[in-house]
């Protein structure tokens, strides 16, 4: 069969990491080819090179057998490559037809021929079953429809090879199903699709062949019919855990956090957490694993007072805190290391010594009456800097000027400095290098050993397996099962991450 895309020995280095380390990718014409891997495995970097957004440091790209060297997306588009990004690039107050033709409008001279544009967009949408009202304004359309417009845009520019970058991340299950139908229709019409995902069930449902990536390398190329989610999960995560954290068995004590049948809606007003119950005890790390976007973010926001739950109960140290504010929770001893340190964790324009008192800025010793006690704040900041080895050792530097790892240290220093009873930790090592990751892990273990209850939410299975004392796997807003790390296989966790319940898996295995 004809090869639509060949990427040969691609290398792409960034200052901190090698994002693509001699990657080979072959995509056949007319297939749906999935590229799977954890966050940071190098999938998006690879695709950005195929789309001309990045230039490879080394290696060769061939499109339909022809060697190419793209200077930008325009070159890639002219070779028939189209990319649908995770974040839509649409103009909200223009209509569907206007958006589709935007940038390649037809007409006489400077005059825009809307009639012709509408007709051509309608034809396209008819041919590929991408049903959408061409006269509707983008802002009135649901997300799934907006994605169709993005796909139409790509097709309008004559794309033969479509790259879909985690297209289901923003979709509801129904919309996801409709997207899959569209993908099949495109394949029937001879289009080639590259589907980036880390959701195994979706990959198994739609793809013909699968390339698995891990830490910038290709760890396997599989035919869908000859593989199973277990094998993919193993290749994705790797059998060999990169670093093991030394720790003694947990000595769990009383229940610190109790969650009962919690339901939470996301920003689109759709239920994201659908009846979750669990307990976290003092002196243990309770981890929630799962693919991103399965309700973990909303769960953490609800527990930390940033989002109002719809129903259910949360008890912290025996007290009902379902509707408590972030300040009340902090005063009771709940620390929170948020998943997005730039959005929630830090005020980048503030100096470090202001950042380390965020949340306690209004009370002694940091405030005396209405006034800030600057001398106390500076001493406290300097102590934290020494204790957590934040570099550079300059408490007056702005938050924005620290490296990612040191920014995370600032957040962790602040929250640990709170001497919490419960620490809610979300994605603590995202984007950190090995050294900083190790530091974060050691700190969490130390906290646990000092009797703090820790709720850890992470997308990194390695991290969960090396830190957790108990693991719950979340899928589609529900907990698929609760296991202990030494009594579970990676395959079982992978299956739970893909939406199989623990009883179901074990029932079948036994």
């Amino acid at each position: 069969m004809e090869k639509a895309v060949e990427m040969i020995q691609i290398v792409k280095r960034f200052p901190q990491v090698v994002a693509n380390d001699h990657v080979d990718l072959t995509v056949l014409k007319g297939e749906i080819h999935a590229i799977v891997g954890e966050n940071g495995a190098g999938k998006t970097t690879l695709m950005n090179q195929l789309y001309g957004l990045l230039k490879p440091d080394f290696g060769e790209i061939r499109i339909f057998g022809k060697k190419v060297s793209f200077r930008g997306p325009r070159d890639a588009i002219s070779m028939g490559i189209g990319m649908v990004h995770q974040h839509f690039m649409l103009v909200n107050n223009l209509t569907v037809a206007e958006n589709v033709v935007l940038g390649s409008e037809t007409g006489i001279g400077p005059l825009f021929d809307l009639k012709r544009a509408r007709k051509r967009v309608s034809e396209l949408s008819e041919r590929y079953g991408l049903h959408v009202d061409v006269d509707a304004k983008i802002e009135d359309l649901p997300v799934g429809m907006q994605q169709r417009v993005e796909i139409l845009k790509v097709l309008y520019r004559g794309a033969e090879i479509l790259i879909l970058d985690e297209p289901t991340a923003v979709l509801t299950p129904q919309e996801t199903e409709e997207l899959f139908e569209t993908m099949f229709k495109l394949r029937e019409n001879g289009k080639t699709i590259i589907f980036i995902s880390h959701k195994l069930n979706e990959v198994m449902r739609v793809s013909d062949r699968i390339t698995v990536m891990r830490q910038g390398r290709v760890t396997g190329v599989l035919n869908k019919d000859e593989t199973n989610p277990r094998e993919i999960a193993r290749l994705m995560v790797g059998r060999d855990v990169v670093f093991t954290v030394e720790k003694t068995p947990a000595k769990p004590d009383g229940v610190v956090l109790k969650v009962e049948d919690l339901r939470v809606k996301d920003y689109r007003n759709l239920e994201a957490v659908k009846g979750v119950s669990f307990e976290v005890k003092a002196g243990e790390i309770y981890a929630i694993a799962g693919v991103a976007g399965n309700g973990q973010t909303e769960l953490v926001e609800a527990l930390t007072g940033l989002r109002k739950p719809v129903s259910g109960k949360v008890y912290f140290l025996g007290k009902d805190v379902t509707h408590a504010t972030p300040r009340e929770l902090r005063e009771m001893g709940m620390g929170h290391i948020p998943e997005d340190r730039h959005k929630y964790g830090l005020i980048l324009q503030f100096p470090a010594y202001y950042n380390v008192i965020l949340g306690r800025h209004y009370r002694p010793p940091f405030a005396k009456g209405e006034f800030l006690a600057h001398d106390k704040i500076l001493t406290f900041a300097e102590e934290l800097f020494n204790r957590f080895d934040v570099r550079p050792n300059n408490v007056r530097m702005l938050g924005a000027n620290f490296s990612g790892g040191n920014q995370q240290k600032l957040v962790i220093a602040r929250e640990v400095g709170l001497e919490p009873k419960l620490m809610v930790v979300s994605q603590p090592t995202r984007g950190l290098d090995v050294g900083a990751t190790e530091f974060v892990h050691r700190t969490l273990i130390q906290l646990r050993d000092s009797g703090v209850a820790i709720l850890l939410v992470s997308m990194e299975l390695d991290e969960i397996l090396s830190l957790a004392d108990r693991i719950a796997v979340m899928y589609n807003g529900q907990i698929m099962g609760e296991v202990e790390p030494n009594a579970v296989s990676i395959e079982e966790i992978g299956l739970m991450m893909a939406g199989h319940r623990l009883e179901e898996i074990r029932g079948r295995v036994a």
């Binding site: 948020p338 959005k343 324009q349 503030f350 405030a367 924005a400």
Partner: protein, 344 residues
């Protein structure tokens, strides 16, 4: 480069560059820029009267600049200083007309307080709307400006109006008039400038030394992190708008107490809007705003003298526009620079 030095240098260099560019415009209309600028300086600072008049013009500009600057620091764009200034002046006048029986030591602070509360209350409308419904303060304060404008036209024509000609209110009680610091011919330099400078110092203390100031700045920089840190965004929005409105209200009140001694429909004359440029040039720093207002006051005052040597005073508008453009451009450059660092 050192951040503090930079924020000081940018406005100063902008002024120099603006004057240079404007001198080409003056050349183009066939006049001598040196003569023009000499007249400008003479008009602004050349005599006791010129200085007094410059300070009188500067006083309200400091306060509207502070009003807008304070909003910016808390992440709010208060375009409504104009309306808040009008409402503050109007309500303060209504109060000050009726306090003849009060000794000045009571009447003066009370009138200021009334004007500030009125401005604060008026601005709080926009604050509440933003906190409760998310209505953007730019839109609501612009609408409130029009309401204040027409309301004041009505008030000085019908219920409070006296005499003929320009609609105006009766004169306020003499116990509520600000004592002059200095009288040069017809120009009274009133003590309003002291109040304005005091307000700037108080604002600096609030922003830099108190935990409330910490919260307001945090919410202004990053509302998500502020909320995460237990700061109530809704309360902060209302408070920040109220303080901003109080400053604008005080600007109007001091104009009544110190300059006009009565409420006029045309009292604000765009000084609320000037506050936006002044806050920008002063980099939202209270002390910077004092100097920015002084610069603007001096340019305005001196431009009359420039007119006498045949250079239209509108040249000053060009100077002002170029200054704002350069200062704003620097902020764009720095914003991009900061973002790049974050992206790394």
């Amino acid at each position: 480069m050192n951040q503090k030095l930079w924020s000081f240098l940018v406005p100063v260099l902008s002024v120099v560059v603006a004057l240079i560019i404007a001198s080409f415009v003056i050349l183009m209309i066939g006049k001598n820029p040196i003569t023009a600028y000499a007249a400008l300086i003479r008009g602004a600072l050349g005599s006791k009267m010129a200085i007094a008049s410059t300070i009188v013009k500067t006083t309200p500009l400091i306060l509207t600049g502070l009003a807008v600057g304070f909003g910016f620091r808390a992440g709010l764009f208060n375009i409504g200083a104009e309306g808040q200034m009008i409402v503050g002046a109007m309500v303060a006048t209504a109060f000050a007309i009726n306090v003849g029986w009060m000794p000045a030591v009571l009447a003066i602070p009370l009138t200021m307080l009334v004007g500030m509360v009125a401005g604060a209350a008026y601005a709080s409308i926009a604050g509440f709307l933003k906190a409760k419904t998310g209505a953007h303060e730019v839109v609501t304060t612009i609408m409130l400006n029009w309401i204040a404008d027409y309301l004041s036209s009505y008030v000085v024509t019908v219920p409070m109006g006296v005499g003929f000609g320009t609609p105006k209110s009766p004169e306020i009680a003499s116990s509520a008039k600000l004592p002059p610091l200095m009288v040069v011919q017809a120009t009274e330099l009133t003590s309003g400038i002291i109040v304005a400078v005091l307000a700037a110092i108080l604002m600096k203390i609030l922003l830099d030394k108190t935990s409330k100031g910490y919260e307001l700045k945090a919410a202004g920089f990053n509302p998500y992190a502020a909320e995460y840190g237990g700061i109530k965004l809704a309360d902060n929005i209302v408070l920040a708008m109220a303080i901003s409105g109080a400053l604008a209200g005080l600007a109007g009140t001091l104009e009544v107490m110190g300059v006009h001694h009565r409420f006029l429909g045309t009292l604000s004359g765009g000084k609320g809007f000037d506050g936006i440029s002044i806050a920008l040039i002063g980099q939202n720093n209270p002390i910077g705003i004092i100097f920015a207002a002084l610069l603007m006051g001096a340019l305005r005052n001196g431009s009359n003298e420039m007119q006498f040597v045949g250079v239209p005073k509108h040249i000053i508008m060009i100077v002002q526009a170029i200054i704002i453009f350069l200062v704003a451009a620097d902020r764009i450059v720095r914003a991009i620079f900061l973002r790049k660092k974050v992206a790394k």
